[in-house]
């Protein structure tokens, strides 16, 4: 039997673990000879430690704590000095294995016990299998949700795809080109959207939201609120008659508020399902309680508009749930120094995406906004008009709201590349316009990204290292102020159009959904995966998976890979008939026992 020394340290100060209790628990474990609490970010005296190890004749050391890896090199060194086998320095990483949750101390004990026995915790802590309902719920109809749905449905398994808006497609449907290959987003996405719609195993619930989830892994009961579309999805032929007659026009969300849509509308021509819907907040009939207007219902040649349709709730039973709720852009108003909302020609990245999109409000022309009279509301509005003057210079500011603890401490992962793509589009469409990129670190990490960056530079975009400090207006001219670090000087570039590469944040409703499902979220607000390296698509809660941006920012290929990966867990559980139960269903003693049994596992 090994003589084990347990050293418990802390790297983060916000642990929920009761360390004293943990220490006494460790002391009572059979092989443990020595337990020592090291405190927060300990300074390790290697020589003294080596002496201590030698004295205690320890032949295995367990470093326990939240992120104990930070102390490992010192301990490995000490153990080596003391004549031990450095591979017998084991880690019991609490935080990394989910001991940041409610039952932190119990979880920590289990992790510690496994390390003492020299077995990886994930090998031992396998929840008891549950029986699995063969249907799957996918929440979110962006590219991740679409991919996951197709992956599962193509195997002949039932999928409910719940999407909050009136169409699937998510953000990707709004994009023009995708980096670094510059292929058209619609060309690659719309066939998948149509495939989802036509798939006999996929039940598409658009305009719907998950309101309540009960049951247990393998047998969830899900309450879905089906908001009234007010247009019969099956019979609508998207003839546009209703939209033509509708008198109400409001900003179009799909076009990032650059243009208007009607109260009865289709989000975009290639929307799936290809059917119109009524925006109840804008519709005169709905708002007036059925007393005014109603023109569209009269006009519809097929009579498929029912303005009095009510929301309803349906309950579905599923065995697995895939979270693919995606993201939204950080509110650029918050980053005050860039004047978003104050200057009409400061655009967010998504607005620019729509503007450059060939099917967008300007037909793909890059223009500066012009003031136009909204005849109905009798107010002047700044709109992107295809006839508007093209900008002579465009500034693209990276890291807007990213890498800054005031907004998002994390890197949003996609902005560098999409900004470069913007530069390309600007240079391509307006060869005479100057284009500036202001960046901190150019994160061109993916396949073909670095080459893409070089290409954009060669195309004549000015790539300036230095975050822009502010956007100001000088004599009616927008000026971007920053430091050009490589050239070692301050710069003030006049820009007719400023594009903010706004970072991403978890989608609205993530908090509620996390609560309803019992899935933990990380410090940044995204859903937490079960295990950073080993299980990036699983969650603590068995039968619930994460894919795409809702887990962390990521680009399309990584999103798609994750979404497909989710399919593996789902299909495996359905085909074998048993899925993964909740991790907290395991008792400490059970884990201890399992750990003891598999002690000799490592070969």
């Amino acid at each position: 039997m090994a003589r084990v020394g347990v050293f418990i340290g802390q790297y983060h100060s916000d642990s929920r673990i009761v360390f004293d209790a943990l220490a006494s628990y460790a002391a009572n474990l059979r092989a443990v000879e020595k337990v020592r609490l090291l405190g927060l970010r300990p300074k390790v005296d290697v020589k003294a430690l080596a002496d201590e190890i030698r004295r205690e004749r320890l032949d295995r050391i367990v470093l326990a704590g939240d992120s104990p890896g930070y102390f490992k090199p010192a301990f490995t060194r000490a153990f080596e000095l003391a004549g031990g086998d450095p591979s017998e320095v084991r880690l019991a990483s609490f935080r990394e294995h989910g001991a940041g949750l409610a039952d932190a101390t119990e979880r920590a004990k289990a992790i510690l016990a496994c390390a003492v026995h020299g077995v990886p915790y994930p090998l031992v802590a396998v929840p008891r299998p549950t029986t699995v309902h063969p249907a799957t719920l996918v929440i979110g109809g962006g590219v991740a949700g679409i991919q996951a749905s197709l992956e599962i449905a193509d195997a002949g398994k039932k999928v409910y795809l719940v999407e909050r808006s009136g169409t699937i497609g998510g953000h990707m449907a709004m994009f023009d080109k995708t980096f670094p290959t510059l292929d058209c987003a619609a060309c690659i996405l719309t066939p998948k959207m149509v495939a989802v719609h036509d798939h006999e195993m996929i039940e598409l619930l658009t305009n719907s939201e998950v309101t309540r989830v009960t049951g247990s892994p393998g047998a969830f009961k899900v309450q879905v609120l089906r908001r009234a579309r007010r247009v019969d999805e099956a019979s609508c032929v998207a003839c546009n008659a209703c939209t033509e007659i509708c008198p109400i026009s409001v900003w179009s969300e799909f076009d990032a508020n650059l243009t208007h849509r009607k109260a009865i509308y289709i989000p975009f021509p290639q929307a799936v399902p290809s059917a119109y819907l009524v925006d109840p907040a804008a519709c005169t009939w709905v708002q007036s309680g059925g007393t005014k207007c109603g023109a569209c219902a009269k006009k519809c040649p097929k009579g498929c508009i029912n303005l009095d349709e009510q929301d309803r709730s349906v309950e579905i039973e599923v065995g697995n749930i895939v979270l693919a709720t995606g993201y939204e852009m950080l509110d650029a108003h918050r980053v005050e120094q860039y004047g978003y909302g104050k200057y009409p020609n400061v655009l967010t990245s998504i607005e620019f995406e729509r503007m450059t999109n060939a099917s967008g409000p300007t037909g793909g022309k890059i223009v500066t906004k012009t003031k136009e009279l909204n005849r109905r509301l009798k107010v002047e509005e700044w709109v992107a008009n295809p006839q508007g003057p093209p900008p002579r210079s465009v500034a693209i500011i990276h890291c807007v709201g990213s890498r800054d603890p005031k907004y998002n401490a994390y890197c949003s992962r996609v902005c560098c590349m999409y900004s470069l793509k913007f530069a390309h589009l600007v240079r391509e469409k307006l060869p005479d316009a100057a284009c500036y990129e202001f960046y901190i670190d150019m994160r061109a990490f993916g396949k073909g990204y670095e080459e893409f960056m070089e290409r954009i530079k060669a195309e004549g975009a000015h790539v300036v290292r230095g975050r822009t400090a502010q956007v100001v207006e000088v004599d009616g001219q927008l000026v971007v102020k920053g430091e050009d670090i490589v050239q070692d000087r301050l710069v003030q570039h006049p820009a007719d159009l400023v594009i903010l590469a706004v970072g991403v944040v978890p989608a609205q409703g993530t908090v509620e959904l996390a609560k309803a499902l019992g899935v933990p979220r990380d410090a940044d607000g995204f859903f937490s995966e079960l295990n950073y390296n080993g299980d990036p698509t699983y969650t603590e809660r068995g039968g619930i998976y994460v894919a795409g941006m809702c887990q962390a920012p990521k680009d399309i290929p990584d999103t798609v890979a994750q979404a497909s990966a989710v399919g593996a867990g789902v299909l495996r559980s359905i085909s074998t008939g048993h899925g993964m139960g909740n991790l907290d269903s395991l008792t400490l003693s059970e884990i201890e026992e399992r750990a003891a049994r598999s002690q000799a596992a490592e070969r």
Binding site: Q337, C399, G466, T468, A469, Q470, K481, E483, D488, L490
Partner: protein, 387 residues
């Protein structure tokens, strides 16, 4: 020729108060928001970089820290919590210690105990000295008149001796500042004419601290200016009209009026600074080095003892007034002796000098740039003009 980086410097600077400089990831935001940063002097990012890398000679040659007035705008906007404002402050402390040829300054900044010890020592010596003089030549019960315990004439002479000594010390240090930043700076080839042209800046900056006013918020400048003017008023009163203000018992209104205003100014400034440093709300008052507190406390007690001494004297309590005077002098002298050449107060010389030298650097750089005609494109104004 490559210069050697010194990764240890950052640790050294930590003792001067630069605790977070390593966090800077060089986005350049700070330089861009800084009202003082311009094409010639790009800071605070650049000096922070030099500090991270430990390029001592480059920092020594840099005027940047002295051009910063620490409004804290940079620190507020810093996405990495690198506290550029405080770093600049720390660099000023470090530079002060570098300019000081005696090494005393460094000792004080590195160890507050040494500073306090020195203060006590000088205080005791001063106290002993004045008491000895007083008891040998006067009567402790008499404040005014021929048997005055500490006659103004004597104190006046002492003042002048001290002023000359301190000025010399400060001048030597200021000279070193010029030497490091301008003479030894390989990038600057100053022209003699520009020295003359910029000479007006020395009194102007000293008296108006105009540069400070360019900061995002003008309040700190106003407070600092009032503090400085109060101090200068006091200095003038003491150096030239000591007799009038010391001797009484009647209040010499033409002089004392100035004294009262200056005292109020000093008290207001000091208390404001202390309260701010306790509240830690404003960015420039968030971080306090030990030397800051020593300085403020000294200034406060000096002012207060001065007030007490004056009140006692005017109330006719001459003995008490004498005691208070000795105490006052025992505080003033060490404060001046240690702070003016070696401590925070030295900036009264370095600030205007920096503004003066900055003008010379600018001038030199412009002429150097025009002489290398195909120089780099686009200063700010040119970029704007082109558009």
């Amino acid at each position: 020729m490559a210069i050697r980086v010194n990764p240890k410097l950052i640790d050294e600077l930590a003792t001067y108060g630069a605790a977070d400089v390593q966090n800077c990831y060089h986005c350049g935001n700070c330089s861009a928001v800084c009202a003082h940063s311009d094409d010639t002097f790009v800071f605070p990012r650049k000096p922070m970089r030099l500090l991270q890398m430990g390029l001592e000679k480059r920092i020594e040659a840099s005027l940047d820290p002295w051009l910063c007035y620490y409004c804290g705008q940079c620190s507020t906007q810093c996405p990495r919590g690198a506290e550029p404002g405080e770093t600049m402050m720390s660099l000023r402390r470090w530079l002060t210690s570098r300019y000081d040829f005696t090494g005393i300054s460094r000792l004080f900044y590195v160890s507050w105990k040494a500073e306090v010890g020195a203060l006590v020592l000088v205080a005791v010596l001063t106290c002993v000295g004045f008491l000895t003089y007083g008891f040998l030549n006067g009567n402790i019960a008499h404040y005014d008149g021929p048997t005055a315990f500490l006659p103004s004439s004597v104190v006046h002479v002492f003042d002048w001796v001290m002023a000359v000594a301190l000025s010399l010390l400060l001048l030597i240090n200021a000279g070193r500042m010029w030497w490091f930043t301008t003479v030894k700076n390989p990038r600057i080839r100053p022209r003699l004419a520009s020295y003359l042209k910029a000479l007006y800046l020395l009194p102007l900056q000293f008296l108006t601290q105009k540069e400070y006013a360019r900061c995002e918020s003008r309040r700190p400048w106003a407070i600092h200016l009032s503090l400085m003017l109060s101090y200068v008023t006091m200095l003038i009163l003491i150096m030239f009209f000591l007799k009038q203000i010391q001797e009484g018992p009647a209040i010499a209104w033409p002089f004392h009026a100035f004294g009262y205003v200056a005292t109020a100014g000093l008290l207001f400034g000091v208390i404001h600074a202390m309260r701010g440093r306790i509240a830690r709300k404003e960015p420039h008052l968030k971080h306090s080095h030990e030397s800051d507190w020593i300085f403020l406390v000294m200034l406060l007690v000096v002012t207060l003892t001065g007030v007490v001494q004056h009140v006692l004297h005017r109330s006719g309590l001459e003995l008490a007034a004498n005691i208070a005077y000795v105490v006052h002098l025992s505080l003033v002298v060490p404060m001046l002796m240690l702070e003016v050449p070696f401590g925070k107060w030295s900036h009264l010389a370095y600030r205007p000098l920096a503004a003066f030298l900055a003008a010379i650097h600018r001038d030199a750089l412009v002429s150097q740039r025009t002489s290398t005609a195909n120089g780099e494109p686009g200063s700010t104004s040119r970029a704007l003009a082109a558009a």
